[in-house]
């Protein structure tokens, strides 16, 4: 095999975008498709919750610490999953600095598909406009230096928020047609917010749509979401990182067919097994464990998990989901440090190009 030529040093943004496109990178990027905000970072940036979820300047300032303080290759300003639901009229419990805001799902706003009313100017709602403005601020401040990742919620998750988890899951069993109607009625929000964030300056968007194995079967994903997710990949003009928590390896074959750039996967799934299942058809981002490792253990434990992902060829290294707000900065900083060390220890890391077959190459990493 002819060794691939060395890749020149990349900016963080170039690195993330190349990895999302499954093109060669100078080293594996460290990304945060979901929140890495912590109480320590809030203090450092003087941008505490809940205001950092509602005021664009604070949102941007807190998000930037992921790059400036922690050394990640991306900035992600949407710390929660409530912005669109707030614009739809869901009640939000905003909490304080030490907890995430949450939708009051036990007070659902819809019961039937025909109840769904998307306000005409919902993107001008303060909680959605805040996201767009924070992205604009970050793009102005950082130019093309670092990747900016936005977030647009998928219709399955929006249905949890608007109908309540139990009523919606029962509807999905009792009346598949109604369920599809709900998803159809909400999907334009997902597309429109994704496009708006791209126009505001986002390089990619995370798309959480929690059809997790902890709640529903893989067959459900195939039945209700695969085609919708394909549609999102076609209509949103920037790379999409699908996020689903929990056990998902059984539905990765479907997810790999959506045409999305990457799948942000949870530590309940083994990296090597997951890579084998997706087989180069979609990138993987993840999957450093939050509650046990990042929150409760040491940098050495973090490093071990980073190495396990790199050994498996995972495309972008990231915490598995929004990290606990009390996570130590020390543990978070260990992620990029470990990635850099792994690459120093593996100067001829395998290059698998577009085929993900693992052939030898130069100082390049392309999965």
């Amino acid at each position: 095999m002819t060794p691939a030529p060395p890749i020149p040093s990349m900016t963080p943004r170039q690195r993330v975008l190349a990895a999302l496109g499954r093109r060669p990178v100078d080293r594996t990027p460290v990304a945060n498709p979901t929140s890495i905000a912590t109480v320590e970072l809030m203090d450092l940036a003087d941008a505490p919750f809940p205001d950092a979820n509602r005021k664009p300047e604070l949102m941007a300032r807190l998000a930037a610490t992921g790059y400036t303080e922690l050394g990640f290759d991306s900035i992600m300003p949407v710390f929660t999953i409530i912005q669109e639901s707030s614009a739809l009229g869901c009640k939000i419990q905003w909490e304080q600095k030490d907890n995430w805001p949450t939708v009051r799902m036990h007070e659902p706003i819809f019961r039937e598909p025909e109840d769904i009313r998307v306000p005409e100017n919902w993107m001008e709602h303060p909680d959605t406009e805040c996201v767009l403005e924070a992205i604009r601020i970050l793009r102005r401040e950082f130019g093309g230096e670092v990747a900016i990742i936005g977030k647009t919620m998928g219709p399955w998750s929006l249905c949890y928020h608007c109908f309540g988890v139990e009523p919606f899951l029962l509807m999905s069993l009792d009346d598949p047609e109604k369920t599809r109607q709900c998803l159809e009625n909400l999907k334009e929000m997902t597309v429109a917010f994704g496009i708006a964030q791209a126009e505001a300056g986002a390089d990619a968007v995370t798309l959480p749509d929690h059809a997790t194995g902890d709640l529903v079967s893989a067959e459900y994903y195939g039945r209700y979401l695969k085609d919708l997710h394909k549609e999102f990949a076609e209509r949103i003009p920037i790379p999409i990182i699908l996020h689903i928590c929990g056990r998902t390896v059984d539905r990765m074959p479907y997810i790999a067919e959506t045409g999305m750039a990457a799948f942000h996967y949870d530590s309940k799934n083994d990296p090597a097994e997951s890579m084998a299942v997706v087989n180069g058809r979609i990138g993987l981002v993840g999957n450093i464990n939050n509650p046990e490792t990042l929150f409760a253990r040491t940098p050495e434990d973090v490093r071990r998990e980073v190495y396990k992902n790199l050994d498996a060829g995972v495309n972008l290294i990231a915490p598995e989901c929004a990290i606990p707000l009390q996570t130590s900065i020390e543990n978070l900083k260990e992620i990029p440090l470990a990635v850099q060390d792994w690459h120093r220890e593996h100067p001829r890391a395998p290059v698998d190009g577009e085929t993900a077959t693992g052939q030898e190459g130069g100082n390049v990493r392309a999965r």
Partner: protein
């Protein structure tokens, strides 16, 4: 096989054959259904199928025909739930299907509960359940409650966002022997420990057993918080509750 052959319902036999693999569980469930009448097996089958109108009707008809409320509960509803629990634990079914079974269970219990209350039959134990302060997620807790009730426990559901004071007040009011706490968020998990500390401060810690669960919760975390037990899912929650009270599983 010959033991399974003693079960009249084809549906129940097939369910056991297809889904119940552990020898101890298979023996226990098979023995239960061998002792169950055809009428009870039909109730269990409808429950496993998530068919709440049929469970409602068959339960009412059984009681009207003179079948005892306890027999309907033990050999119809709880026996059916024992298969549902195993299928859920082993990922043969998921939450929507379990919710449908719970709805069917509820339809049957609506006829049974008033009779049991009036006759003074004691539950296995009283359990206070709630999602901890700051956490609004309740589906895991609700599944546990459904399985606990389906196993003969009386459960007082405090809902979501439950403060330590509310847990304590409920234990005092209901003289409960177990507290179950749930959390989905890593930010709210520490509130389990705070609630346990509040029980210590209130001098009530020795009077209750405390169990915890939720997606991010682990056995290590439960130990660190000073809980008496951790259950990884709704089936484990029932087993744990029985262990904590010294009741045979």
């Amino acid at each position: 096989m010959s033991e399974l052959g003693d079960i009249a319902s084809d549906f129940i036999r097939q369910e056991i054959e297809e889904y119940i693999a552990r020898p101890d569980e298979r023996e226990r469930i098979t023995n239960t259904f061998r002792r169950a009448s055809e009428r009870m097996q039909a109730i269990a089958a409808a429950l496993i199928d998530g068919d709440h109108p049929t469970v409602d009707r068959l339960t009412r008809e059984a009681l009207e025909a003179g079948v005892g409320a306890l027999e309907v509960m033990d050999f119809g509803l709880i026996a059916g739930m024992s298969i549902v629990g195993v299928k859920f634990r082993e990922n043969f079914i998921y939450v929507p299907e379990v919710l449908a079974c719970a709805r069917a269970m509820k339809a049957g219990m609506a006829h049974i509960s008033p009779i049991l209350s009036a006759s003074g039959i004691e539950p296995l134990g009283k359990v206070i359940m709630g999602t901890v302060k700051g956490d609004l997620h309740d589906i895991g807790k609700n599944l546990c409650i459904m399985m606990l009730r389906g196993s003969g426990f009386e459960v007082i559901d405090l809902g979501v966002d439950t403060s330590p004071d509310k847990f304590i007040a409920a234990v005092e009011q209901h003289n409960a022997s177990i507290v179950g706490m749930s959390a989905l968020l890593t930010t709210t998990m520490p509130n389990m420990g705070k609630t346990i500390e509040a029980f210590i401060d209130a001098d009530l810690r020795d009077q209750v057993k405390i169990m915890v669960g939720g997606a991010p919760v682990t056995q290590d975390f439960a130990d660190d918080m000073g809980a008496d037990g951790y259950g990884k899912d709704a089936v484990a929650c029932v087993t744990l509750a029985k262990q904590l009270l010294g009741v045979a599983a």
